[in-house]
């Protein structure tokens, strides 16, 4: 009886957010495909500069920037908002309100990102990293996010639970952090208030925080939700998650200025940036330890559960990429690898190996519950997982090795610059192949998602598993 009531409650909660969440999640997949295409073109250009070289809109500087913004504000942000809007009602036990407005926000979001990408391709980019969209577009996105945050905080206010679960801490914080960051940075930088070095500092305060205080918390909220659900056992330590949360809130905020090590900025700011980056080891270790202890004894479930496989891969990438980031900030390390492809490898391990893989895990968990269908094909999921995992591994290793080599050569003034360029080319070619693997993964994923939402997948029954399950726990995919 209690079980039935619980199922009815979940159905009601999922029903309340179904349309906007689906809209955000599906749009995100479309942007993922757009972003992958732009990425491949940009990547090939770096080792074959004559490729598509005759038109201004296809030039490297615009393709690369259109790629970044379509995956950051199209794929990543829309997937993150979709997951947020699904998690909030589940965690507050309060149905979502204002769904019409949220649907409007999703459509507007798509229109704005499309306008922004076209603006970049036609020469209206601001050339301020991570803030390339012109001011009116950024203001539009702020309004859309305000609608999302409003709906989320409204549900929080009407919560039917006494205890606020870890995931909800992160989500609540994001609803405060992102608007403050995005609004301040855009108005300060594009509104003409800041110039010169002060503007560069605001730029990196924002660009690093958009990862730390927007993308990361939503991914961690997903981890803390999906992991215990799938393995059917609570998170190992509540207190560790508490330490992890507040340490992230405190230290991530100050880490961004390591992007300007060696640059013409006040020494104190860079030093604070480096110290905060090292302090980030604390929240990262707590998350990694908590994940490992929770998983202990349940690793065999990785063979069967798609969500778990993606989520655990993402969690492990988080530990690696964060530890790497802390040490990368140190002066000695920065001296070699800053300005090289190494940084690009690091950024992709974060945004892809950690964040995107976590979102994929979220999709595999959420979509069956929202569409009432099972994933159509275990093979497609396998192709998705292995091409993603293999692709990001090759991507990361190639650019990490290539970046270190590039950095060491740059430090030797006896090596002519063109020789440095030649040395990077094989690594850049390897990166294009890795990008191709990632694109194949995304196509497999998009086909699965399309079948789910078009009603072509089997109705809910037994979850689609990647292997026979040894012990039957829960039933969650």
């Amino acid at each position: 009886m209690a079980e039935l009531e619980h199922a009815q409650l979940l159905a009601k909660l999922d029903g309340s957010c179904r349309r906007p969440v689906l809209l955000f999640l599906i749009s995100a997949v479309v942007w993922l495909l757009v972003g992958s295409t732009l990425a491949l073109i940009a990547s090939i250009k770096l080792h074959a500069p004559e490729f598509l070289a005759n038109d201004a809109w296809l030039t490297f500087g615009r393709m690369r920037t259109a790629h970044l913004n379509s995956v950051a504000y199209g794929w990543a942000a829309m997937a993150a908002v979709g997951v947020l809007l699904w998690l909030v009602p589940r965690l507050t036990r309060a149905p979502l309100r204002g769904t019409r407005l949220l649907e409007g926000a999703a459509w507007a979001w798509n229109g704005l990102v499309a306008a922004g990408v076209v603006a970049i391709l036609t020469g209206y980019s601001t050339s301020v990293e991570w803030l390339e969209f012109p001011l009116p577009i950024a203001m539009g996105l702020t309004v859309c996010f305000a609608v999302v945050a409003g709906a989320g905080l409204d549900a929080l206010h009407r919560r039917q639970v006494d205890h606020i679960y870890v995931s909800l801490w992160y989500l609540t914080a994001v609803m405060v952090w992102f608007p403050v960051l995005y609004l301040t940075a855009n108005i300060g930088i594009h509104g003409g208030l800041l110039s010169g070095v002060a503007q560069a500092m605001t730029n990196w305060w924002f660009a690093h925080n958009v990862l730390g205080l927007f993308v990361t918390p939503i991914a961690l909220a997903t981890l803390y939700y999906v992991l215990p659900k799938v393995i059917g056992r609570p998170i190992h330590s509540y207190y560790l998650s508490l330490v992890g949360f507040w340490a992230l809130a405190l230290f991530y905020n100050w880490a961004g200025l390591h992007h300007l090590v060696g640059g013409p900025v006040p020494m104190w700011a860079v030093t604070v940036g480096i110290v905060a980056s090292m302090m980030m080891l604390i929240p990262v270790t707590t998350v990694a330890f908590n994940q490992h202890m929770t998983m202990r004894g349940h690793f065999h479930l990785l063979r069967s559960s798609p969500s778990l496989r993606f989520v655990v891969f993402a969690g492990m990438s988080y530990a690696v990429v964060s530890a790497q980031g802390s040490f990368e900030a140190l002066r000695g390390m920065s001296e070699v690898v800053h300005f090289t492809q190494y940084t690009v490898g690091h950024a992709h391990l974060g945004m892809y190996g950690f964040f995107s893989m976590m979102m994929f895990g979220g999709y595999y968990f959420i979509l069956p519950r929202l569409t009432g269908r099972e994933w159509p094909s275990a093979t497609l999921i396998r192709v998705h997982f292995w091409c993603s995992a293999f692709g990001i591994a090759v991507y990361f290793l190639a650019l990490t090795a290539g970046g270190v080599q590039q950095g060491l050569l740059l430090l030797d003034p006896g090596v002519p610059f063109l020789d440095v360029v030649q040395a990077t080319l094989p690594w850049l070619q390897a990166r294009s192949w890795a990008g191709l693997a990632l694109t194949v993964a995304h196509i497999a994923f998009a086909i699965s998602v399309a079948q789910m939402v078009l009603g072509l997948a089997p109705a809910r029954g037994t979850p689609t598993l990647l292997a026979q399950r040894v012990t039957s726990q829960g039933g969650a995919a």
Partner: protein, 199 residues
């Protein structure tokens, strides 16, 4: 047990804290007005109208994603040995720049002082038209679309190797190409600027 109010205020406090340190303090503290050099000139000088237009071309084509504009100080890296600058860059070099094009990648060389290192307009135009002409093996893209192909002879035409374009056709820089080169020529960080009040 965490209360929502603790969360909301805590989140707001942490972000405002770093906003104060990294946005407000530099906005008020890092210098924003040009200085006067010993010889009486104001530094940094105002860009000519054409160079300012060239800066916009640099921005809209995304040159910043391959080129930094910040010379590392003597004790850090090999920028000075590579001849990329005559001193490390200082905050005053960027006064008034919107946006400052500091950059984060060096797929190509640093350009903070390129106007000193490579003053030749002819070289820059040829290089932009096709980097392979001046720098074989470069992975900088050609910017042919910044040039017009016109029938017959034109005195502004680039001198290109035989066979690059059809016979009787001249390659002429557009206004955008000329502006971009004027900007590159203006990119200089003179050595007699010894510091800014912030250092």
């Amino acid at each position: 047990m965490i209360e929502p109010r603790t969360l909301l205020l805590g989140a707001l406090a942490t972000v405002c804290f770093s906003l104060t340190g990294y946005v407000l303090v530099p906005a008020l503290g890092v210098e924003t007005t040009p200085i006067t050099l010993e010889n009486g000139r104001a530094y940094p000088p105002v860009l000519s109208e054409q160079a300012a237009q060239g800066r916009e071309v640099y921005r809209d084509l995304g040159c910043v994603y391959c080129h930094s504009q910040q010379v590392r100080p003597e004790t850090f890296g090999a920028d000075l040995d590579r001849g990329w600058g005559r001193r490390g860059s200082l905050p005053v070099d960027y006064v008034g720049q919107q946006p400052p094009l500091l950059g984060t990648m060096r797929t190509g060389p640093d350009l903070a002082d390129i106007g000193t290192r490579q003053p030749s307009e002819t070289w820059h135009l040829l290089h932009l038209y096709d980097p392979q002409l001046t720098s074989p093996g470069s992975n900088m893209p050609p910017f042919r679309f910044l040039f017009d192909e016109v029938e017959g002879h034109d005195e502004r035409a680039l001198t290109l190797p035989e066979g690059t374009v059809a016979n009787g056709v001249s390659v002429v820089p557009t206004a955008r190409a000329s502006a971009l080169v004027a900007y590159l020529q203006a990119l200089q960080q003179p050595p007699d600027v010894t510091g800014s009040s912030d250092e």
